[in-house]
Amino acid sequence: MSARGELSAAVRGIGLLGPGLVDWPSAAAVLEGKHPYQYAATTAPAPALLPPAERRRTGETVRLALAAGLQALAGTSTDPEGLATVFASSGGDGAICHEICSTLATDQRDISPTRFHNSVHNAASGYWSIAVHSMAPSTALCAYDGSFAAGLLEALTQTLASAAPVLLVAYETVYPEPLHAQRPLLDAFALALLLDPRPTAGACARLQAQLVQEAADTLDDPALERLRTGVPAARGLPLLRRIARGDRGRVVLDYLGPLRLAVTVTPCP
């Protein structure tokens, strides 16, 4: 850490799943402006790592979070068993919430026990630990529309405290009606960063983050900007655009009034 309140870590891996964004290499070309952005509905692959019984119990939210996390680890030779994880989401699983509240509004109120234990905000964190056999610390947090920056701050402070890598996964799925009218998220989206406080070969960029009071950066492409403002986890897209460009620069990410998170990105050689 170079200054009071400044946090630093290298990005060793990136996972990305969203509408028209299927992985980091192809999304980087879109964010860089090399390829046009084209909308297509988000798909979340089934988590092959989970035992079949657990796999059957997972919904879209858990599948999306696990897939993005695994993307970030691919090709980094990181052992997920000892890897601490931070899961950031503004809403958890809206489909389960809808099912539980619908059932509780009936006379029977016989809610499914599996749905109940899957309704916890840390469901993705729990299934991740089971999938990769990790007894490392794992947390699940929420800061509403500021959830991405809150997750990044938690992950960066963890790398500082433990001097070890941390995987951040920020993710959202869409609430079904009637909740959707109250919380109209644009589409399912997940963004994962493998952060490492140590100088490491093969990192794609080094981040230095600090709290500021400035306006957050926006994206030039109107469709990508709609995505950024339409899903809390996509508030991290300006950071990915900066990493994709491969030059040194600074981005300001949405957090909580009056605070924003400024991140200086330095490409690694």
Binding site: E54, M135, T139
Partner: protein, 400 residues
């Protein structure tokens, strides 16, 4: 980790509003679990409800936030001079240098449950329903920031029943990183139908007041609580007997979503990491506030974990027989109970338990025990295999 002082703290649960009422109930071995009469619930179980939550006034400026969870929050903040102490801290540090890190499992989900009953003919939720200000987990930190005029970093950790223990770790890391100078930590969880019917569906609720570690234990009693602490790095002005947070240990079970590992391997890791962070050996812990929910498997897994880590009997109890299991608030509530134990030299009895299951090998307290205390440990474990242990000390580093 560098110790942090709990310069101010407060707790409101079924056994009482504030520290004095809480300590009085603990001294009297008086629990507060009673047959469930919450809302329209018709379940053969007992609950630990906080009295008069629904009559707590909500300021007009916070009308959007009106919910049982936030009424309980407002009630607790205005207890033991806690809000005033935080406002004093704002004068010392500045509003942006105090973090807000809180835990909850269901936040204001009750509001959504009630709104679903009042859906319009076309299936829409009533126009008065406010998802972001009531149900969303972050609403808890949002309302606390607004009430106290705090503008620093904030987050809500929601890892089921370990939520408000883990916030102590997150706050310590933020202070260590220099992002903030002090942190308001705590947890609030209030009764709702999802948890009452959900735990019932899992066959984890007891028909009678819960009896943690009793051979005939048969489930939990759900409670509600709000507990807060102000964490500050100790300085020359810190009174010598101040309670300190000296260790936090977190782990995952990697075993099952709703059942603990039978040997409590994750719980062992959390306790060992907390002891290592505090620089203590197991034999230096004088009392353990157990997670002790009262289900057969949770208690036996925790007992195996405790006997594996401590290798000798340590006086221990679960205070959930008094308060009920306050879920996302349990970590903070039981940290405050540990702070009271340190201050008053009281190891509180585990209520409702006739005698401890002899197969578990714990030194389980079924009656209050009095002795000067300097180092205690508190366990909080949750669904998803999320574990967190805290070490609290009075006169950190001093010898008894």
């Amino acid at each position: 980790m560098k110790p942090l002082a709990l310069t101010h703290f407060t707790a409101t649960s079924a056994i009482g509003r504030g520290l004095e009422a809480t300590l009085t109930a603990l001294r009297a071995e008086r629990g507060a679990l009673s047959p469930c009469a919450f809302e329209t619930a018709t379940l053969p179980t007992c609950i630990g409800a906080v009295a008069d939550v629904d009559s707590v006034p909500v300021p007009r400026s916070l009308a959007r936030y009106d919910s049982r969870n936030h009424r309980l929050t407002l009630l607790a903040l205005e207890t033991d001079g806690f809000a005033a102490a935080v406002r004093q801290a704002v004068l010392r540090y500045g509003a942006m240098r105090i973090g807000v890190l809180l835990g909850t499992s269901t936040s204001g989900m009750l509001e959504t449950e009630l709104a679903y009953r009042r859906r319009t003919a076309d299936g829409a939720l009533p126009s008065t329903f406010e998802y972001g200000a009531t149900h969303n987990s972050y609403a808890l930190a949002d309302v606390v920031r607004r009430v106290l005029g705090l503008e620093g970093p904030a987050t809500v950790i929601s890892t089921a029943c370990s939520s408000s223990a883990k916030v102590f770790g997150a706050a310590a890391r933020m202070i260590e990183a220099g992002l903030i100078d002090a942190a308001l930590v705590g947890g609030v969880d209030s009764l709702c139908l999802t948890t009452l019917y959900g735990f019932h569906a899992l066959q984890l609720t007891s028909p009678q007041p819960c009896r943690p570690f009793d051979p005939a234990r048969d489930g939990i009693s759900i409670g509600e609580a709000a507990a807060f602490a102000l964490l500050e790095p100790p300085g020359p002005d810190t009174p010598p007997a101040t309670v300190m947070l000296t260790g936090v240990g977190e782990s995952s079970d990697a075993y099952h979503m709703s059942s603990p590992h039978p040997d409590g391997l994750g719980a062992q890791a959390a306790m060992r990491r907390a002891l290592a962070a505090a620089g203590l050996t197991p034999h230096q812990i004088e009392y353990i506030n157990l997670h002790g929910t009262g289900t057969p498997s949770n208690d036996s897994a925790e007992a195996r974990a405790v006997t594996a880590v401590f290798e000798r009997p340590v006086p221990s109890s679960s205070t959930k027989g008094a308060t009920g299991h306050t879920l996302g608030a349990a970590g903070a509530l039981e940290a405050v109970i540990c702070a009271l134990a340190l201050r008053s030299g009281l190891m509180p009895a585990g209520l409702n338990t006739r005698y401890a299951d002899p197969s578990l090998g714990l030194e389980y307290l079924t009656a209050n025990r009095h002795a000067p205390l300097t180092r205690v440990l508190s366990n909080s474990f949750g669904f998803g295999g999320s574990n967190c242990s805290l070490v609290l000390e009075r006169c950190a580093g001093a010898r008894p």
